[in-house]
């Protein structure tokens, strides 16, 4: 194994992680999250347009702390930190169930990094400066393959024209620009940077279950893109190649978010079992409570170990990164789903109420479970990889 034993998680990474945990504890504690996203159930689910529930000041502080610069290479003015650090940060974001465009921006950053063009560099510099970004393209056909997109593109000497509509764009209303995957007439996939206020671009917000996120369908009605915004050309499907190269990082980041939230679910449910009494006993006494919690822990730990391993592989052993990242996403999706289910059930009647925080995490987990492919989806791909390896 060419990987370092400690997953490359050294003192620098630990400092970042610990600082992030402290910052989020101070500036995004559960009380604040509740007030932000779950103050009013009618507002959350019955408004004509779902409200944008996030704290923009916290986001600005995060930018100041350098979190958007973290994954950006030094050549583009970023910190160029290892993926293990990015994963550790994403895990903290998940643990706080933070409503913010950071995860979307980190994913877009991963794609831009792999594109490697001047246009990509310009985008990355904007990210360092605090512009939130979101990757628009995959998801339409339940397909998360590198060339999945429902946007058509025509490239010419003057730039490119985008047409079509793409569903499931994350944090669409928080993003300053989108990294759009689009397919040309020959089937080649390119990547294009489009400002969220570009003429012809329309954001149609979804009504989503997850209270900590916004999501939209984004329509492109002959949106024009200058040559300087062609992040990767559709000729030779260069864009698809960049996405393919970024896929391990994308999966790892989403897995890390799931792991952080699952760890919160584990600890919160265990804490409830330590204090709640039924039948004259602390409910943690009952194996019908204790053993499911332990099973959650085992599943969460598997997902966490695999997530760190995937991140470290991206940094040090890229040839094994995709398989590990798919394993991490599969394990984290399943762990998130199981932790969610048990966190409601073992909280009993309380867990079924809006005022209990459990549902906020459950909804975020269900979202991430399916985003970029759930457990069975990843496993089908893993079977192909195993087959090749065997």
């Amino acid at each position: 194994m060419a990987q370092p034993k400690d997953f490359g998680f050294g003192s620098e990474e630990q400092m970042l992680r610990d600082a992030a945990r402290k910052f989020l504890k101070d500036h995004a504690p559960i009380e604040k999250l509740r007030a932000l996203v779950a103050k009013d159930h009618k507002l959350a689910y019955e408004s004509a347009v779902q409200p944008l529930a996030w704290d923009e000041r916290v986001w600005k502080q995060m930018v100041e702390l350098g979190w958007t610069a973290l994954a950006v290479p030094e050549s583009a003015g970023g910190a160029g930190m290892k993926t293990i650090a990015v994963a550790a940060l994403a895990e903290e974001i998940g643990r706080a169930a933070l409503p913010s465009p950071l995860i979307a921006t980190l994913i877009a950053t991963a794609v831009l990094r792999e594109a490697g063009t001047d246009a990509a560099k310009t985008c990355l510099e904007r990210v360092v400066g605090g512009a939130a970004a979101s990757f628009a393209g995959p998801g339409a056909e339940g397909s998360w393959l590198p060339d999945a997109t429902s946007i058509a593109v025509t490239e010419s000497g003057n730039g490119a024209v985008l047409k079509g509509s793409v569903p499931f764009v994350q944090e669409a209303r928080k993003a300053a620009f989108f990294v759009v995957a689009a397919r040309d007439a020959k089937g080649g996939v390119g990547l294009y940077a489009v400002a969220s206020d570009a003429p012809g671009l329309k954001i149609l917000p979804d009504r989503v279950v997850d209270l900590t996120r916004d999501q939209a369908r984004v329509e492109f009605d002959d949106v024009k893109v200058g040559t300087s915004a062609i992040v990767a050309s559709s000729t030779g499907s260069v864009g698809a190649k960049a996405v393919a190269a970024a896929l391990p990082a994308i999966l790892t980041i989403v897995a890390a978010d799931l792991c952080g939230a699952a760890e919160w679910q584990l600890q919160t449910t265990a804490e409830y079992a330590r204090v709640r009494t039924q039948f004259d006993r602390l409910i943690g006494f009952f194996q019908a409570v204790k053993h499911p919690i332990v099973n959650v822990m085992i599943d969460v730990d598997r997902a966490r170990s695999l997530t760190y391993a995937a991140a470290c592989a991206i940094d040090t052993e890229p040839e094994s990164a995709l398989c590990l990242a798919r394993m991490a996403k599969a394990a984290a999706s399943d762990a998130g789903a199981f932790a969610s289910s048990r966190s409601i059930q073992l909280h009993g009647g309380i867990g079924f109420t809006w005022e209990c925080d459990v549902h906020i995490y459950v909804k975020r987990q269900k979202h991430n479970q399916f985003y970029f492919g759930d457990g069975p989806y990843q496993r089908a791909k893993i079977a192909q990889l195993i087959d090749r390896a065997a």
Partner: protein, 396 residues
Amino acid sequence: MTEHEEFREYCRRWLAENRPAAPSFRLPLSPIEVMTEEQRRYLCAWEKKCYEAGLIGCDYPKEYGGGGHAGFQQIAGQEMGRAQVPYLINVIGLSMAAPTILNHGTEEQKRRFIPPLLAADEIWCQGFSEPNAGSDLANAQASAVRDGDNWIINGHKVWTSLAHFASWMIMVTRTSNEHKYNGLTYFIVPIANTKGVTVRPLIKITGETGFNEVLFEDVVVPDAYRVDEIGKGWTVAMTTLLYERGAAEGAGSGGGISLDERIAQLVSLAKRSRRDGKPAWEDAIIRDRVAQLAIRVEGMRQGHRRMRVEPLTDHPMRLPLQAKVTVSELMQDIAAVALEIEGPAASLYVGDPGAPDNGQWPLAYLNSYGFTIAAGSNEIQRNILGERVLGLAKSK
């Protein structure tokens, strides 16, 4: 044609002719999520009409407003399910309060309470759970203190579906602290416009209201509303729960959408949903999951059938006591698989114009925990099965 066959014919004809027009507003998936006054009015009107046509209360004695038949209710229930007409809103009254009163009530109580219950003129709710006695009914703390011909009730009940519409509550109170089980007494308590009663809607994780907490502050209840003897509350409550657990299937199918129909919905959803660029229904994992659920649905139906065939059952309570666990977990898993089929579209909630099946599946998934937690959590149900059916040592 037997009397029962004739009645089935009658039900079918009547339901075909009297099916109500679809409302202009959305109805929730189950009666215990009914929230608005217009929903209540629509459902009560329908239920009363069914009662007047003889489809409700058929097996209750005539003197209590019933039809005086035997074995008719099951037929009427089946036909209402098949006809896919709206569900019955007074579900707690019909499945719990009425049988409890019939079994344990005084003659006066039966005459006073059962007829308007059957007619949907009075809605009922149930006051068992408390903040510190969820699955642990015997730990109920709401107190009832004797005061001449009256009782003074103080306490706090939670998880009380329909309390916001209810005229009456069936309620377990503590009348003695000396004995845990024998210190409980069962009452019928007026809820609507009663001095000292506060009904506060709780909000579910779905964002819906529909269940409540109810606070009692020196509420005066006449002794005539006591059900069975002082200190017999546990026994009476067990009768109620027996009917409630039996009714769990009803809540999932009878009157509303059948579980069969849900499987067909899954297949249809899978054909419309895309997974990895292909219809989800072509994904062998999805097919396996749906087939597994279909087996459980059919297994439950056949278990229900077998329950009544004595030589093919080994213990009289073995199948009946399984019903609550199996139906509630089945409903949960059906919804969970629907979300898997939808993939990223599972993020879209009720009210999103692009949500598959109008966003019902995320809603159904979240609501399913109501059924696995309420009416004695499934953990407690498994204790009961192990102890009562298999004779294992008590876990508490």
